[in-house]
């Protein structure tokens, strides 16, 4: 009987009981420790093998023959041309997509019209189509045998195997980024502030620059950032339309492949390291922007 058990024994049992109860509670609240450790280990090792290791290897290979070899590889005229072309193409396609994305997002978020769902689906098309197909579409349109091929030849306009073709293909592939970043933001903000501005006598243009644009600037920057990263890194579509003319129509990703195929590992990885750095910078900027997007807005209505 309970009455006959000595005090110390009672304390000991109650202590053990409390511990058992705490452990039981712990089990109810979360998964067992073994499961937690297994899952975390799995995630970390996966990330290490598939993300961290390749990134480290890119830089290791780039600097394998020393810093001077790295700099020399980047100073090659071919490398410089590729860097220049990549920057030019990114500038063109980001600008175009900034305008297109803004217009498309505006149409979707602020107007009601039939065919809206279809438009939203169209915006996503470049994400669901293989980049190689995207490139081929432009060959079909502007190639010598393409729909506009004859007309272009007659007027002496070069699109394929030149900057315009590369820019077009890149623009197509990176189209969704800006629109995608803006649509949910603009839908959430609604049209009331614009309506207020108009009723206060502001013109459409003024309303856009003084009310709409400041409200979406962080979202816009976010879209531009991702669009830029993808534009500089695009391989498939650009590879189809570029023609791989050395020193002329090779972008950085294309040059990496060519150099690698020619066993110039240091040069290939030197260029690759630039792209990797772009990725890292993009990642940091993206994190900062996401924080601004979440924290900067007032959600309490």
């Amino acid at each position: 009987m309970a009455m006959q058990i000595s005090d110390s024994a009672m304390l000991a049992t109650s202590g053990a009981k409390a511990r058992a109860r705490a452990a039981a509670l712990e089990n109810i609240r979360t998964e067992p420790a073994a499961v937690r450790i297994a899952i975390i280990t799995l995630a970390v090792s996966f990330l290490t093998i598939f993300v961290v290791l390749p990134l480290v290897l890119v830089f290791a290979q780039a600097f394998s023959k020393g810093f001077m070899a790295y700099v020399t590889a980047l100073a090659e005229p071919e490398a410089l041309a590729a860097i220049k072309l990549t920057l030019l193409v990114a500038a063109i396609s980001v600008t175009l997509n900034l305008v297109f994305g803004l217009v498309a997002a505006w149409a979707v978020a602020k107007f009601e019209f039939s065919g809206k769902t279809f438009l939203i689906t169209l915006i996503d098309l470049p994400f669901s189509v293989s980049p190689v197909i995207s490139g081929l579409v432009f060959v079909l349109l502007f190639g010598a045998q393409g729909y506009f091929g004859g007309w272009l030849r007659d007027h002496d306009i070069q699109i394929l195997f030149a900057v315009p073709g590369i820019a077009l293909a890149t623009t197509f592939v990176t189209f969704p980024f800006v629109a995608r970043a803006l649509i949910p933001l603009m839908q959430e903000q609604g049209t009331q502030e614009e309506e207020a501005a108009i009723s206060l006598g502001a013109s459409g243009l003024r309303t856009f620059f003084r009310v709409t644009l400041p409200n979406i600037k962080w979202g816009l920057l976010y879209g531009v950032l991702l669009c830029n990263a993808r534009a500089m890194g695009e391989f498939g579509a650009v590879s189809v339309v570029s023609g791989h003319i050395r020193g002329e129509t090779n972008t950085m990703p294309l040059l990496v492949e060519i150099l690698y195929d020619e066993y110039q590992f240091v040069a290939a990885f030197a260029i690759a390291s630039l792209l990797a750095m772009l990725a890292l910078i993009t990642l940091v900027a993206k994190t900062i922007l996401e924080r601004r997007l979440d924290g900067g807005e007032d959600r309490d209505h």
Binding site: A196, A202, S203, D298
Partner: protein
């Protein structure tokens, strides 16, 4: 400034938001558009402001056709339910916005603008918030700033769309009184939309009751409460008891029983009897037009609210003064002090 709308029709897809609305607002009036959600009141307001366009009908502001002008040219102050303050601008810049975007020819210089904004912030008693941003303000403060912003352009008319709809009960009551006195001070022809009958009756000079895109009644707050024109108005404003009755040959019947109620001038057929809860007088069993058994009693301050099962089977809620305590199980007689019968 007067506002007049004639035969206004507006449909959204298959939904008829406005179904032939005629309304005249006199100069200096503070008019309430009252109705349940979907009654078309906000649509009407937005059409007057130029933020929506009617399918048919006319809008006249001060006798001039307003439909030939967009929202930008109408000089209408509009206050939104969710404030719609420019979130990236300070309170000061919000109020100054309407002055800064004026065409260069009539735009005031910076000193005049600053003085005017200061004056408006004083008017809404929030001059100490000039440097804050909208997300640092409470709901009530935001709405007062929104009002100051709308007044900055010296609007010809002022339109308020559920201005206190997003605020809590206490702030609402304060702002109601404040809006009334502010209107008294500035005397701009104003229309405000609300679904809150108390708000409409307390603030407005005149109340327009709307339902399903039509105007049910226009009248003073007393009119719409004391002499509702339709069954809808009676049911919507104030707490009413509603009983289905039959009128035939000058006799009103509830089920089979004739009721000792006057039925002169009433059309025969199915009708509805409306009685305000507090107009149902409680007497001893056997007295009055109805008899019933008390089911529950709850006390609300000065009144007791009793659920009474009538002998015919219907259950009604009445508000009785607390001088005579009712108890569940009591059998009581009920006499409507005042009532109205509507066909349909």
């Amino acid at each position: 400034m007067t506002i007049e709308v004639r035969k206004l029709v507006k449909t959204f897809g298959s939904f008829k938001a406005l179904d032939g609305v005629d309304l005249k607002v006199d100069s200096g009036e503070l008019l309430a558009l009252l109705g349940p959600s979907g009654s078309g009141k906000t649509t009407l307001l937005r059409i007057v402001a130029g933020l929506d366009w009617p399918d048919a009908g006319e809008v006249l502001i001060n006798g001039e056709d307003a439909l030939t002008h967009g929202a930008r040219e109408r000089h209408v102050g509009f206050v939104f339910q969710h404030y719609a303050l420019f979130r990236h601008m300070s309170v000061f810049e919000n109020v100054a916005f309407g002055l800064r975007v004026q065409p260069r020819a009539i735009r005031k210089d910076e000193t005049t603008i600053r003085a005017r904004v200061k004056e408006l912030l004083d008017l809404v008693q929030l001059d100490w918030l000039a440097d804050r941003y909208p997300n640092q303000l409470s709901g009530g403060q935001r709405q007062r700033i929104a009002l100051a912003r709308a007044l900055a352009i010296e609007p010809r008319i002022l339109l308020l769309d559920e201005p206190f709809g997003a605020l809590d009960a206490k702030v609402r009551k304060e702002l109601r009184k404040w809006l009334r006195s502010l209107h008294h001070e500035i005397n701009v022809t104003s229309i405000f939309v609300t679904h809150d009958q108390e708000e409409a009756l307390e603030v407005a000079n005149r109340v327009v009751v709307m339902d399903k895109g039509r105007i049910e009644q226009i009248g003073s707050p007393d009119d719409v409460y004391e002499t509702p024109a339709t069954a809808f108005v009676h049911g919507f404003i104030g707490e009413s008891i509603e009983l289905p009755v039959q009128v035939a040959d000058g006799v009103v019947r509830l089920g089979e029983r004739p009721l000792p109620l006057k039925a002169e001038g009433l059309a025969s057929g199915a009708s509805k009897l409306f009685v305000r809860r507090h107009d149902m007088l409680v007497g001893p069993a056997g007295s009055g037009a109805f008899e019933g058994a008390v089911q529950h009693v709850r006390n609300f301050g000065p009144v007791q609210r009793a659920e009474v099962a009538l002998s015919g089977g219907e259950t009604i809620e009445i508000d009785a003064p607390r001088d005579r305590e009712l108890r569940a199980g009591d059998t009581v007689g009920l006499e409507p002090r005042r009532y109205r019968i509507f066909a349909g």
